[in-house]
């Protein structure tokens, strides 16, 4: 079986700034990759290219062996879910309706959401702790609640590959860990693939198998977290010296 996600000789740039050249990446079922880098390095741009929302300058991205162009948007939506970094709601809508939009790729043109679709959406809302808010208007949610709703929508979409742009944005500590555990569980139990943009190298080390460091000057390094994530390399990535601290067998990197 082909990998969930493959990038071949990918070159990406944004606004004249090179994000990566000749990036090669292959993600198998159950694998987890963290994308780390400074603000403006191009992490989100790279993730949206992997999600098929932007075109690459060169190279190609394949989902299960096929390009986005060959798949078409609807089949692609059954194979990968993408979590946006920002959520804006121009119009009022309830929390449940918003979560149900995740069912779109599974429905035919004239279908209405069925009872089963509603159950799936309710299950996803429950998983992120929003079950009580299903009738609330999205425009009244707090930043963290809105973020968890976006994650619930993604779970409702039920694609085997999750591309997450800052999944921890706006979340308080308990929810950060709950959400990371949720996705780690999906990777372990459902063999979902996971690529996520993170800002905390310690969490990347704890929740991901591999890391992709985006240096912002066109260089990208991909490797196992255990080897790639060192205080020295991360210090040069972020442009600030870091110190590695080990506590209960977990490595954390704190700014000096």
């Amino acid at each position: 079986m082909s990998a969930l996600l493959e990038a071949h000789d990918l070159a990406v740039s944004v606004g004249g700034h090179v994000v990566c050249r000749d990036l090669n990446l292959s993600l198998a079922a159950g694998e987890r990759v963290a994308i780390l880098g400074r603000n403006g390095a191009g992490k989100s741009t790279l993730l949206s290219v992997l999600a098929g929302l932007r075109t690459a300058d060169a190279g190609e991205v394949r989902l299960g062996g096929e390009t986005y162009a060959a798949l078409g948007p609807r089949i692609a939506a059954k194979r990968r879910g993408w979590l946006a970094q920002r959520h804006s709601d121009a119009f009022a809508s309830t929390v449940l309706e918003t979560a149900l939009t995740g069912r779109h790729p599974h429905l035919g043109r004239w279908d209405w959401e069925s009872k089963r679709d509603t159950e799936i959406a309710r299950g996803a809302l429950k998983a992120v702790g929003l079950a009580e808010l299903e009738e609330r208007d999205v425009q009244t949610l707090s930043g963290g609640e809105r973020q968890r709703l976006a994650i619930a929508t993604l779970l409702t979409q039920a694609a085997p590959l999750y591309l997450l742009d800052e999944p921890l944005a706006h979340l308080d500590l308990n929810h950060q860990i709950a959400i990371l555990n949720l996705f780690a569980g999906a990777a372990q139990d459902c063999h979902a693939g996971l690529v996520m943009v993170l800002h905390e190298p310690g969490l990347a080390d704890r929740y991901c198998d591999r890391a992709l460091l985006v240096h912002g000057d066109g260089r990208c390094e991909l490797g196992a977290c255990r080897e790639l994530l060192t205080a020295e390399r991360l210090g040069s990535l972020y442009g600030h010296p870091l110190k590695e601290v080990v506590s209960d067998d977990r490595r954390w990197f704190i700014p000096v």
């Binding site: 929302l53 948007p73 990968r80 946006a84 119009f91 009022a92 149900l100 939009t101 779109h104 043109r109």
Partner: protein, 325 residues
Amino acid sequence: MPSHRRAALVLAVLALLGAASFSAALAVGSIAVPFSDVAAALLGEPVDNAAIVRELRLPRALAGFACGGLLALAGALMQVLLRNPLADPYVLGISGGAGVGAMFAILLGLSAAGLNFLAFAGALSAMLIVFGLAHGDGAWTQTRLLLTGVIVAAGCGALIALMLSIAPEHKLRGMLFWLMGDLSQSGTPWIALAVLVAALVASLPFARELNLLARGHDTAQSLGVDVRRLRYSIYAIASLVTAMAVTSAGSIGFVGLIVPHLVRLAIGNDQRLLLPASVLAGGALLTFADTLARTVIAPQQLPVGVLTALIGVPVFLFLLARHRQ
């Protein structure tokens, strides 16, 4: 997401409202016709005033319903396309273009057919200019489209003001009525009705995709919508629908902005229900408004655009206040 039953109920209520607006439009006027005679006249029986009902009031009521429906549909589509609740059918300069064509036709003293032709040509030119300029290098953001539309509309507004200021006195009234929206010169209603039905049938299959588009370009794309194709189609449909409406009745304000919001406040923002409900509500509102426009100070007629605002503003404020609680 409304259930099927609720959707059917809402549409049935609005259809009744539409029927009521028709009955009023056919029965009320300088000569009051009893409802029994209206029904008889529609069935082709030779009753008193049958000609008034069939040849004067019926075409005008149908034109009013068609224009109201067209404007409400265009407004609903534009609001989703631009992801802007303040968008209306005229925001992209289509009515401005039609206005320039119409004013020019009146200045030249053309017939009604000539006026309609020039208005439609003006609307299409504005649509193509805005699309061409906003599309430009392929980057097609809502802001750019909106700004281009607003600028083209402003340019058209200046041309219209220019023509109004050089127009001879006796033509000014006709020009002003056209600009405010007026159904008395609307001609045969069947073309507008056919366009209305065709546009609704063409947009309904995309209704669920429009729900996603309202949530953002990338979100919609990531959930499986071919956003580029959808936006082109919706732009084309909404523009043609607006062009048809302004060609037959001038730029009637307010219906296209407020009716989709009224419907949204009442039933939510699911386009599968919102689009047909807006068509019915817009049609009913304009038919009622036009009936009032030709009766309140009869035999004088008011431009219907004035009445749509006078009716719509309080209704909208009431719904908004109720919604807040």
